[in-house]
Symmetry: D2
Subunit: 141 residues, 4 copies
């Protein structure tokens, strides 16, 4: 791994000054990451379940964490494509968590997939694939 858990945790908190609005890092490995999100009233849609954009936000940042485990702390890696299937209604008033795994990390882009779960549930509530664009290194020569 190019970075430690502590380095990435600190980096994410600096990058997202809104605090834990997008999730909290729980585990980190070589090419994968897990993050969780406490659900508050601002995340809900009618019926008390987590809204789609909240799940997309967690999936997005979790794959970002998985990517950085491979390429190091690159702030300007950006999502270029995201596809998500919403599979089941999340449990009401329950935190969600995500596990992201890289499928490929190339020189200019990384592709990965993310499963999102309600805490305590066995079946995924959403599944997402994403492409991140990796900026060229400066002074690369």
């Amino acid at each position: 791994m190019k970075i430690t858990f502590e380095e990435l945790d600190r980096f994410l908190q600096e990058q997202f000054p809104q605090g834990a609005a997008y999730g909290t890092l729980r585990k980190l490995g070589d090419g994968w990451a897990e993050m969780s999100l406490d659900v508050d009233d601002g995340h809900l849609r009618p019926g008390g379940t987590v809204s789609g954009p909240v799940m997309m936000g967690l999936a997005d940042v979790t794959l970002y964490a998985a990517l950085l485990s491979r390429i190091g702390l690159v702030p300007l890696a950006v999502t270029t494509n995201l596809n998500i299937n919403f599979l089941r209604k999340p449990a009401a008033h329950t935190p969600i968590w995500a596990r992201a795994t890289m499928l490929k990390v190339g020189r200019t882009m990384g592709v990965g997939e993310v499963f999102v779960y309600s805490e305590g549930g066995e079946e995924p509530v959403a599944h997402s694939t994403m492409t991140y664009s990796i900026p060229p290194k400066k002074h690369e020569n």
Copy 2:
């Protein structure tokens, strides 16, 4: 159209009690809608531009509005698939807006596409396609 601008505007405000966090209805037609979003600090990512999840949230609710113009005020229509391509960096500290158009509205699902723009910009910053699942009508017999 199955609903008026005023009916949908009131419905969206009731459905999303967080207020205008997901956008404000601007125009509504038969099978299409336009919504805008004032950008505040909670929406930003490093560099002062709008984050991906914020654009996804606006795209999602704008297509929901376009769908409801065809099927009426159905609260339980839910997104089942969303695909988004991020095309250009949004302008910093500038509101964004979206135009959604239905490509098909069937009995059980609706598919549409959304273009997202920075206010004043000519080229789209993102393009999304989505599928909404339409719940069966009660007492349908």
Copy 3:
């Protein structure tokens, strides 16, 4: 499982009278399937590698097989959404194979993912997610 390997194999050959143009069933389980495809000159693009549409075709039919393991021999199940990421160049002049797994099988639709490999390779050459629409059963009452 709702069907046996032999029942599905015979059904696929009847459904696709072009023969093995879309692939050959290799393994079948509860909610998953594996199929392979011998590559001939009609499948190639410049450089001798398998073309994108050929990989999409194999992914599509393999997920169809995985779905039928759960719902039985339903001829009119159709793909409504397909997303595919091409990850690596397939090996030249080498057969490809795919493994499909259902993520959800509901009453009206099924969602699954597919990994595509070059025979003998360890890393996937493509990854796809798909939604199939399941027709309502006749005389369902």
Copy 4:
């Protein structure tokens, strides 16, 4: 435009030696293209309609043509992501055609959308978005 209709037409025929298996160029503009495909028995699925992979193949090559109108005759541009929604059943035993439009052409990638129609039909049978990776120019300095 970087190329003429005749140059692209000849290039496509050389690139795809299977002949018109993937479609015939009909119109070409700056950042857009139209191609059509005569449907034969090998393209059909049960019911006499065009199969999904055939529509994906036509969408893919038509967007390739649209991209080349902007970047010139680059043989090694490859699809990295394709998303397609199948909207309506194509007419039986009827040719299909596609119109592709680029949404963005950058230095390293191009994104576009494609509508697919049955000949004579007014509503699209499929809608696709795609990302093409553009190889770096040789000797670019």
